[in-house]
Amino acid sequence: MTSSGRFKSRPVKSAVFQEKEYVGFATLPNQVHRKSVKKGFDFTLMVAGESGLGKSTLINSLFLTDLYKDRKLLNAEERISQTVEIIKHTVDIEEKGVKLKLTIVDTPGFGDAVNNTECWKAITDYIEQQFEQYFRDESGLNRKNIQDNRVHCCLYFIPPFGHGLRPVDVEFMKALQDKVNVIPLISKADCLTPAEMKKMKDRVREEIEKFGIKVYQFPDCDSDEDEEMKQQDRELKESAPFAVIGSNTTVEVKGQRMRGRLYPWGIVEVENQSHCDFVKLRNMLIRSHMHDLKDITCDVHYENYRAQCIQQMTSKLTQDSRVESPVPILPLSTPDVETEKLIKMKDEELRRMQEMLQKMQQQMHEQDL
């Protein structure tokens, strides 16, 4: 074809026009789209927080399903010395031909016991396990069907009843900040009036900065995006941490049925932006930033883990080799022993001489007397 030989830098025309200079790689996005739809997507979301903060309700509201049918909640007595469990729920959902394999990792028992020291250990161990498994699969010979179980995002629920972050919140987020994208949420936001909400958000933001907690940062949108997008992006960043309300029930508001909570004094609408930040969370999590979360998990957290892992392995190898080889690589050991012997001998001599000196002194003393 004549067009292939002529690499003129002409602006790309739309794919509809079959012009002579048209190369055709403008269809790449479409090809990517088609392939990805065929392959399907997967996403692993972890939810963590004390029980009773509305985690399950929020997940149900986010994905508009009921993941938690027939769930058994523990009594207070049983929770006194409870350990943290990890429970995975996997669902396949489809929307407009796009398939999503959604895995929700639940952490019942977190923060529920009377003594919660290191209650996040089970969670960090789980995340590292997933990394390890992926690392092994990736380094294996047959890499056709790698299952990616790495946790892409962790929603951490902060109780709205206090004045900000509590010690257990700070410790948990610090323990997880380098392993997973942590998104803090203020749960049960219908407990706070707008003024209290603002105060709480400012408090939480301050404390996150004060303690140096690395939460997930929204990437800046490109400078060539339009103003509306930029405005949205700014609003998104300003309203972090999101204050959310979830609901398993539908209520009727102005003739429409929607998810909400019915109170004697009014109805809280989950999807009303002036009531809570649920819509912002949903948009961010599902509609715009899901892939970014996955990318950061793969490119940053996983790579950190991998580098650490490899470093540990190589340092262990060099350690082992030093002990095993018969010829000492560094001749530090033998001279040590010799000098030690010399030192010992000298010490003994000194001691003997001191004794003699003492005896002589005594004799002289006696003689004097």
Partner: protein
């Protein structure tokens, strides 16, 4: 005999007599009331709950005033109690109100020791009262009673059940103080959830044997309202000091974008019920219960610990004072003995040290004598040597002189010989 006379009197049955006219002792309750009013009342509330759960706000709302308090931080190392005393007056009734706050409760990562400071505080107040009661010169009518009359336990509105910390703490407190559990920040739970939540909480309390305060149903005047209130426990309360205009009234409420939660609206929350029960109906009963049940239990345990009994081995009723005096004597006797012992020890030690010192002195003397003798000896030797030397010198001199004279005479002799 006097004994039999007493027996006759105690066996007599009490007879009911009818009065012929109005005597006037029906004013006795009024006299009691006027006396208590002049004396003033005293009430102590303990608020137990997580930081930020709304304890101070509820107190402000209940007593319709602004008690001064700063926001607590979440980062306390342990739990400590903060008592504050206020003097309130309504009509002509004075109330000395003490509010005790638990600061730092529920914030630590390890909460196993959280209940201890609370229990210790309650026990200390009982102990102070007991000490005052046991004094020889006591003034109970003047005494500022700091015993806790009521503990309001604030439950977080999770909607599921009690937290493990709540259960553990309430179990430790239920035998020491009257507990009324309340659900704080109740404007976050819908009506149906609230119903289930209350049932779950009560069933958990019952199944774990936690004894909460039951409003008394033995007094006919209040039995109806009290028994209906007992069914509404735990109270779901909302507190607020801000005023919002609703209709044409200004009421205390919380303003949300979706509605206004009125604090004193009975269909919104149980605040009115709590105020009714706590302050308007049962305050006196709470004080009585604290004194008659909880304090007596503490007192009995404490005294039994110290070794008192109600009856001695012969089953004769013991007088507390006698036992107390006997114990005191014993204790003082012990103290004296110990003092004697210590004194003895001290004296012994002093003697020992004295003896040692004497011994050392003697040794030193000996040494001195020895040295002196040696010195004398040496001196003598030196003297001898000197004399010897002198003698030698004399001898030498003599010989010298002799030799000289000889030599002088010799040359003459020689000359003579030659001649």
């Amino acid at each position: 005999m006097a004994a039999t006379d007493v027996d006759i009197f105690s066996n007599e049955e009490k007879r009911n007599l009818n009065l012929g006219g109005h005597v006037g002792f029906d004013s006795l309750p009024d006299q009691l009331v006027s006396k208590s009013v002049t004396q003033g009342f005293c009430f102590n509330i303990l608020c137990v709950g997580e930081t930020g759960i709304g304890k101070s706000t509820l107190m402000n709302t209940l007593f319709n005033t602004m008690f001064e308090n700063e926001e607590a931080s979440h980062y306390q190392n342990g739990v400590y109690l903060r008592p504050r005393t206020y003097d309130l007056q309504e009509s002509n009734v004075h109330l000395k109100l003490t509010i005790v706050d638990t600061v730092g409760f529920g914030d630590q990562i390890n909460k196993e020791e959280s209940y201890k400071p609370i229990v210790d505080y309650i026990d200390t107040q009982f102990e102070n009262y007991l000490q005052e009661e046991l004094k020889i010169k006591r003034s109970l009518f003047n005494y500022h009673d700091t015993r806790i009359h009521i503990c309001l336990y604030f439950i977080a509105p999770t909607g599921h059940s009690l937290k493990s910390l709540d259960l553990v703490t309430m179990k430790k407190l239920d035998s020491k103080v009257n507990i009324i559990p309340i659900i704080a920040k109740a404007d976050t739970i819908s009506k149906s959830e609230l119903h289930k939540f209350k049932i779950k909480i009560m069933s958990e309390l019952v199944s774990n044997g936690v004894q909460i305060y039951q409003f008394p149903t033995d007094d006919e005047a209040v039995t109806e309202i009290n028994s209906s209130m007992n069914a509404h426990l735990p109270f779901a309360v909302v507190g607020s000091v801000e005023e919002v205009k609703v209709g044409n009234k200004t009421v205390r409420a919380r303003q949300y974008p979706w509605g206004v939660v009125q604090v004193e609206n009975e269909s919104h929350c149980d605040f009115v019920k709590l105020r009714e029960m706590l302050i308007r109906v049962n305050m006196e009963d709470l004080r009585e219960q604290t004194h008659a049940r909880h304090y007596e239990l503490y007192r009995r345990c404490k005294l039994e610990e110290m070794g008192f009994k109600d009856t001695d081995p012969d089953s004769q009723p013991f007088s507390l004072q006698e036992t107390y005096e006997a114990k005191r004597k014993e204790f003082l006797g012990d103290l004296q003995r110990k003092e004697e012992e210590m004194r003895q020890m001290f004296v012994n030690k002093v003697k020992e040290t004295e003896a040692e010192l004497k011994e050392k002195e003697r040794e030193l003397h000996e040494k001195f004598e020895q040295l002196k003798r040696m010195h004398q000896e040496e001196k003598r030797k030196v003297e001898e040597k000197r004399r010897d030397l002198e003698e030698e010198m004399n001898a030498f001199n003599k010989r010298k002189v002799a030799a000289e004279t000889l030599s002088l005479s010799q040359p003459l002799k020689k000359d003579k010989d030659r001649k």
